[in-house]
Amino acid sequence: MRLRLRFTKLGKVRFISHRDVARVWERVLRRAGVPVAITEGFSPRPKVHFGLALSTGHESLGEYLDVDLHPDATAPALEPLAEQLSDLLPPGMEVEAIAEVDRRATSLQQAVTSCTWLYALPDAEPGWLSEQADRLLGADELPVTRTRKGKTVHDDLRPAVVSLEALERLDIRTTDRHPEFPSQGPFLRTELSTQPRGVRPQELLDVFDRPLRAQRTVRLHQWITLDGARHEPLLAATRAPHVTGPPTLAAAETAEDIAGVRAS
């Protein structure tokens, strides 16, 4: 049995690395007594799978973790488990949804097709941000220079930018539910595709007319495209045709309700 969890990484805890997050989860699962399957071999490891790495210092409302349970284990009740795990996680990390998914589902890393990002830019002027967003979206190409394997290569960011908009402030519900959430705008929100190759959030800021540095950078969503439609990864996996039984989503609410007020 495989569980997929969606969790947050907000506030001070944003400064721990992807590796640190993995180690935190290993200990939390042990403390919660979750019967995680263990790899065979010389150096046994728990069978847990993470999605796309989040850079140290970036925050998230949509991090994912797949946990394989021991074949002999009885399935735990999901709703109380989410709550129990949240209590054991450090402040700023919270389990927001949990569901049983098919073990054969494509790995998170391969399945995710795009991510929505939010940048908090308290020093920027909302009108200018809005102009810039329009300009970038209207551009035919957004050339960037990257270093890959020691070589300098030229790339075009434009195909990866699915959407981009400036927001003056956020919907109050988001900041209510997450006291650690950055509250000082203006903001930029963008959807960046992760395939064939990911774009680092800073790379987009680098193609603005004036160099921008976000005070906070938050991953709002990860998306899986199935049959041309975008799905939240938990729902995507539970709605897959080969899943038997009803989806056991404990917190069906997705992060989709992160709304904002557009800057003009």
Binding site: K12, V13, F15, S17, I38
Partner: protein, 655 residues
């Protein structure tokens, strides 16, 4: 200014490993500061990764926070990248718990366990916005305290430390809280700082350097004497008589990022009477005080369930000597009942005794993730091991190594010291011989056995029988390492690693230094010499220049043999050990006389028990099985080699 977090968070995007600075560990406390609480900032003067696991700091963190009259938070030395940004942005040193500025605490309490961190202590005090000199501090500044093994000779740091604690801190912090609480309630009136220091000087175990006058005759120290009649002429260390009363840490901190010793740590006993003559820890922490086996088992069980760790270390100076070792190992690996954590648990014994019994225990416990085994024979020949009283016979080592290979280990690490008293080239080369023989034994079990030989330069320490010994020069240590390199060049399977002899020199100068070294430490710090424990930052020239600038000779401090009648800079401090016991042990060392472990044999009256009316707390009346150490076996095995160190010593004494 309640928290520096708003300023700090903008800097953390620009530094390496920002997780060092955020706190949030499991077990972290957010204590309520109040008008009647004495606030302590427990600071480790090295990086978070090194400092976080420090047991002393974690024990005091809990004990202080349990008191109604105290609060404690923690701080660690910021790495050079953050330091630069802090100074640039005028942000002070802070606690990681609530990110409160360091200068707002009543006490900055440092753990001082290595000489090369001295400059970091100054840097932390300075980053806190506090004058580095004791004499320049006023009532508005925190008190700067230190504890830890280096405080048995705090003289080089005397200019910078308001007070120093000798020995176990569990009980004395309460007495310090009382003095400081009273000071707080009095409103810390102008001019009251000397009074509070004088009151602290009367707390047993607390040494206040500024309450003592030092006189020299030429280069020699004549006396260190109290300036007031109510200040003790000799400061005695503190010793907790019964470890069972202190089952700390109860809530071991579990960091979110990787640190050294990242596992559950349970202290099984304190003190060691093996009597290794080079080992300061073994001398100053006497007597042996075991924790009751049932309490250890409880702490292991609770700790694993609480933290989610899958590894527990049973810590002490020689954990295989713990009376309840087999029982604890059994109960840990066979699962912890209903609270069993998922997956296998491994146990580690950080200081393995060198014998087959120990390896048997290790085999039982390291079922998961069997990495390497480390043994510390310390010297390459039986003769030299008698000199240092590390009574491991070759049979013991080979028995241990064979047993380890036969039980599946492939990699061994052997620790040695070079530059020990009376060491000859034959002794040094004995290291290579032992290593080669270990690889040979391994070949019976595996195609590619590997032995790593790790060699450190010996630094004589205060309150050990070797405190009179002049340490080997940098050149001599280099030569000995060179001998080993040359000899091991064609030895397949043996890797040689060594500690920088130049760092050994600086450690040696500081370890037995006096107050005249204060300006040297300050100059090295002012010229940017921080993180001297880190090879990428260590620079011996900074130290040698500073010594020269202050007219001080490294040779005189580090290389010179001391005589029996010499006044040592730490003579006014006491670890309980009688000076004549140490001197006799030094003479015995030169006579190559081993001394059995006093846990299981009659008392030698070293002073550590008798002086304080305490005794060993050891459950087993007989020594553990296996090995020759302390078992009353014939110690005269092995050939005798003439020693000629007594003659130059005597000549020096006469001159």
């Amino acid at each position: 200014m309640a928290s520096v977090w708003p300023q700090l968070e903008n800097l953390l995007d620009r530094v390496q490993k920002p997780a060092r600075y955020i706190g949030l560990e499991q077990g972290m406390q957010r204590p309520e500061h109040g008008p009647d609480t004495v606030s302590w900032l427990l600071t480790y003067p090295d990086t978070y990764e090194i400092g976080l696991p420090n047991a002393g700091l974690q024990i005091l963190y809990e004990i202080l926070n349990e008191r109604p009259d105290a609060v404690a938070e923690r701080s660690y030395a910021p790495w050079v990248d953050l330091e630069e940004l802090l100074r640039e942005g005028d942000v002070p040193l802070f606690s990681v718990d609530t990110h409160r500025p360091a200068g707002t605490f009543d006490v900055l309490a440092f753990n001082l366990s290595a000489e090369l961190t001295y400059t970091n202590l100054l840097n932390c005090v300075d980053l806190a916005g506090v004058p580095v000199h004791t004499a320049a501090r006023t009532e508005e500044h925190p008190l700067v305290l230190a504890g830890g093994h280096c405080t048995y000779n705090p003289e080089p740091m005397a200019d910078f430390l308001d007070a120093v604690v000798l020995g176990d801190g569990e009980e004395v912090v309460a007495e310090i809280c009382e003095v400081l609480g009273e000071w707080r309630r009095s409103g810390r009136p102008a001019g009251s700082r000397p009074d509070v220091l004088r009151r602290l000087a009367q707390v047993p175990g607390v040494y206040v350097p500024s309450m003592y006058d030092v006189t020299y005759d030429g280069e020699h120290l004549v006396s260190v004497t109290p300036r007031h009649p109510d200040v003790p002429a000799q400061v005695e260390k503190r010793t907790v008589a019964d470890l069972a009363e202190f089952p700390y840490p109860k809530q071991q901190l579990v960091p979110l990022t990787e640190v050294v010793h990242d596992r559950l740590n349970v202290e099984v006993f304190r003190g060691c009477t093996r009597g290794c003559r080079f080992c300061q820890a073994g001398m100053i922490t006497r007597p042996v005080r075991e924790r009751p086996t049932a309490q250890v088992e409880q702490m292991v069980r609770d700790g694993l369930a609480r933290t989610g760790y899958d590894e527990v270390a049973l810590t002490s100076l020689s954990s295989a000597d713990f009376s309840g070792i087999e029982s604890v190992v059994q109960s840990t690996v066979s699962g912890c009942g209903d609270q069993a954590p998922a997956g296998p648990v491994s146990v580690s014994l950080p200081s393995l005794r060198v014998d087959a019994f120990t390896v048997g225990v290790a085999a039982q416990i390291q079922r998961a993730r069997r990495t390497g085994l480390t043994f510390a024979p310390e010297a390459g020949s039986w003769r030299l091991r008698q000199v240092i009283n590390k009574l491991i016979r070759e049979e013991d080592l080979y028995g241990a190594v064979s047993s380890a290979y036969s039980q599946g280990w492939r990699r061994m690490k052997l620790y040695f010291l070079v530059g020990l008293p009376t060491e000859t080239d034959e002794d040094t080369l004995g290291i290579a011989e032992l290593a080669r023989n270990c690889v040979e034994l391994g070949r019976e079990h595996t195609a590619n056995p590997s032995v790593t030989v790790s060699v450190g330069g010996f630094v004589p320490k205060p309150f050990t029988p070797f405190q009179w010994f002049g340490q080997n020069t940098v050149a001599e240590l280099h030569r000995k390492v060179g001998l080993l390199r040359e000899d091991l060049r064609r030895s397949r399977g043996v890797q040689l690693k060594w500690h920088d002899p130049k760092a050994t020199l600086v450690e040696g100068i500081m370890s037995r230094g006096d107050r005249r070294l204060g300006p040297v430490i300050e100059q090295v710090w002012r010229r940017g010499g921080v993180f001297q424990e880190w090879s990428e930052h260590f620079d011996v020239d900074r130290w040698l220049t500073a010594m020269a600038d202050h007219g001080l000779s490294p040779d005189w401090y580090a290389y010179r043999h001391r005589t029996e009648d010499e006044v040592l800079p730490w003579d006014h401090l006491s670890a309980g050990l009688h000076k004549d016991f140490l001197w006799q042990d030094w003479r015995d060392a030169l006579d190559e006389l081993g001394l059995e472990d006093c846990r299981w044999t009659p008392c030698y009256d070293c002073g550590a028990c008798t002086g304080y009316g305490i005794e060993h707390v050891v459950a087993s009346a007989v020594p553990p099985a296996g090995g020759s150490q302390g078992t009353g076996q014939d110690l005269a095995t092995g050939g005798a080699v003439p020693v000629d160190l007594r003659r130059p010593m005597a000549a020096k004494a006469a001159s």
